[in-house]
């Protein structure tokens, strides 16, 4: 059976309306995407799929996703003004509605973000109650919730790399909750997604990113902080 709810779930959370799956969940997806990009995007191409495709305006998910990209938290009253604030801050955005995408969860959004030379693509699902899942990231299967501390390592698919990385994390006293690997092709790049119970020290991230077979290390602490 699932874990018992808490008093905090019964009277709470404090949130921006109208609904946690259309606002809080979507803000979280935006926050994750911003962290994957590493900064505020200059341009955002935002595609809402399936049930989101019809309702995103009525439910304010368009404002919520921009709010996330602007790094607002889920209970920030500025979410409502996010369309204007994005314009003021020079964030160019465009929305697209796509139905009929049967491979996606009913409430799915895809973000294609650009900042200078850097481009990323993040797909997020809002599962209800503000809970999210990131099924794909830059074309790799990712499947993380961002509720833990998440480490995303893109690296050459060399032998022993996973064992090596787990070792480094263990030495930093990190408890790994989940870990998954996704490859684009044999001996090609691999994407390693590690969810941890606690955060890592900056030096660990630095060390990992300096390894010559590692292309990039992204660290996403608990998405609400």
């Amino acid at each position: 059976m699932s874990e018992r709810s808490s008093v905090f779930d019964m009277i709470g959370p404090v949130m921006i309306g109208p609904s946690s799956s259309h606002t809080a969940g979507v803000v979280r997806i935006g926050r994750v995407a911003r962290r994957v990009l590493g900064k505020q995007p200059d341009e955002a191409q935002i595609t809402f799929y399936n049930s989101f495709a019809r309702t995103y305006e009525g439910h304010g998910s368009n404002r919520a996703i921009l709010a996330g990209l602007l790094d607002f938290k889920t209970d920030d009253v500025r979410i409502k003004q996010a369309l204007d604030i994005a314009k003021e801050e020079g964030l160019k955005y465009n929305f697209r509605s796509v139905g009929n995408a049967s491979v996606f969860h009913p409430n799915t959004v895809k973000l294609e973000l650009t900042a200078g030379e850097r481009k990323v693509e993040v797909i997020g699902e809002s599962l209800g109650g503000g809970v999210i899942r990131i099924p794909k990231l830059n074309g790799f299967t990712a499947n993380f919730s961002a509720a833990h501390h998440t480490l995303i390592i893109t690296a050459k698919d060399v032998k022993g790399s996973i064992a090596f990385i787990s070792n480094v994390l263990a030495n930093d006293n990190c408890n790994i909750a989940t870990m998954s690997v996704s490859r684009k092709g044999k001996n090609d790049l691999a994407c390693l997604v590690i969810e941890m119970d606690s955060g890592i020290q900056p030096i660990v991230q630095q060390y990992l990113s300096h390894l010559d077979w590692v292309q990039e290390v992204l660290y996403i602490p608990d998405i609400d902080f």
């Binding site: 018992r4 905090f8 019964m10 959370p13 309306g17 946690s20 019809r54 309702t55 796509v98 995408a101």
Partner: protein, 303 residues
């Protein structure tokens, strides 16, 4: 101690055996299950109550128009109407419940209690109760603790989600939480609190979830007002020891049973009830995005 919030019977028994009040046991549950101290829980709830009162004021003073136009400053109109149909207090109760819920519909800050759709009920009832009876925040927070305990049991035995149990699960549960809290704050004992919950559930049973255009606006906003009124009527009945006849646990079971047999079109899908009326459909056509690209079949596999 999780068993405590499996049934009202078990909750009462625990209180009696340990000589504890209802709200103390909720604190103990949270400490044992979630490792949170009394101070942490207390701080969370006083902040939540603060946000609730803020939402009421925001709804009564700022412009509350929703994107769809269906919500248009109704709470203010009710608050300022010259003739109270019952009493000025009743008028304030109704306008406050509307106000907080309108804030939710208009992308303002609220407390989901237990859900976003029902976020006007505890603010409307607790704010008004505090004002009428000159209660201090401590007493209201005790009431909220008991409300949380009530919701934990309903979640366990039935559901709190409109998509699972219909609107009885959302606004019905919030009304039950509120009526239990009201009775506690006015000095009621355990039986009276539970009787209020039972009576409230009896009044809210069977309510379907049929939001127009799938937006949490119509009928959600007015149901927050009616549920608040029912919370008070049940509290009035329960305090006088008028027995609900069907015990509270069985009332909740009935709610679960009704929720299970409800057809999907009455569970937040916007396919039945008010959402399916001619006007509901016309609104849906107007406010929902119609210009949608449909993927050709081969692209569906791309992901």
């Amino acid at each position: 101690m999780a068993f405590l919030f499996d049934s009202f019977e078990g909750w009462k028994q625990y209180c009696e055996e340990h000589n504890k009040s209802l709200h103390e046991t909720v604190l103990a549950f949270e400490a044992e299950q979630k490792g949170r101290t009394k101070d942490e829980v207390w701080a969370h709830l006083s902040n939540a109550y603060h946000v609730m009162k803020d939402a009421v004021e925001t709804g009564l003073h700022e412009d509350m128009q929703s994107q769809s136009g269906m919500i248009n400053n109704g709470a203010k109109k009710v608050f300022n109407y010259p003739t109270p149909v019952l009493s000025p207090e009743f008028q304030r109760l109704i306008s406050r419940a509307l106000a907080a819920k309108e804030v939710n519909s208009c992308m303002g800050r609220v407390v989901a209690a237990p859900t976003a759709g029902a976020s006007g009920i505890l603010p409307g009832t607790m704010y008004t109760l505090q004002e009428i009876h000159q209660l201090d925040d401590e007493q209201i927070i005790e009431g909220l603790l008991i409300g949380a305990g009530i919701a934990l049991i309903i979640e366990q035995k039935a559901s709190l989600a409109g998509a699972v149990g219909g609107c009885q699960a959302e606004t019905g549960s919030a009304a039950a939480m509120a009526s239990g809290a009201i009775v506690h704050c006015l000095g009621g004992n355990i039986d009276q609190v539970f009787n209020a919950v039972a009576t409230t559930i009896q009044c809210m049973l069977g309510l379907v979830c049929d939001p127009v255009a799938g937006l949490v606006e119509v009928p959600c906003v007015v149901r927050n007002a009616s549920a608040s009124a029912i919370a008070f009527s049940s509290a009035q009945i329960a305090l006088a020891n008028v027995n609900a006849v069907i015990p509270v646990d069985e009332c909740v079971e009935a709610m679960g049973e009704i929720g299970q047999s409800m057809e999907a079109r009455y569970k937040e899908t916007a396919l039945g009830g008010l959402a399916a009326t001619r006007t509901g459909q016309a609104i849906s056509k107007r406010v929902l995005i119609q210009d949608i690209e449909m993927l050709p079949d081969e692209e569906q596999q791309e992901g």
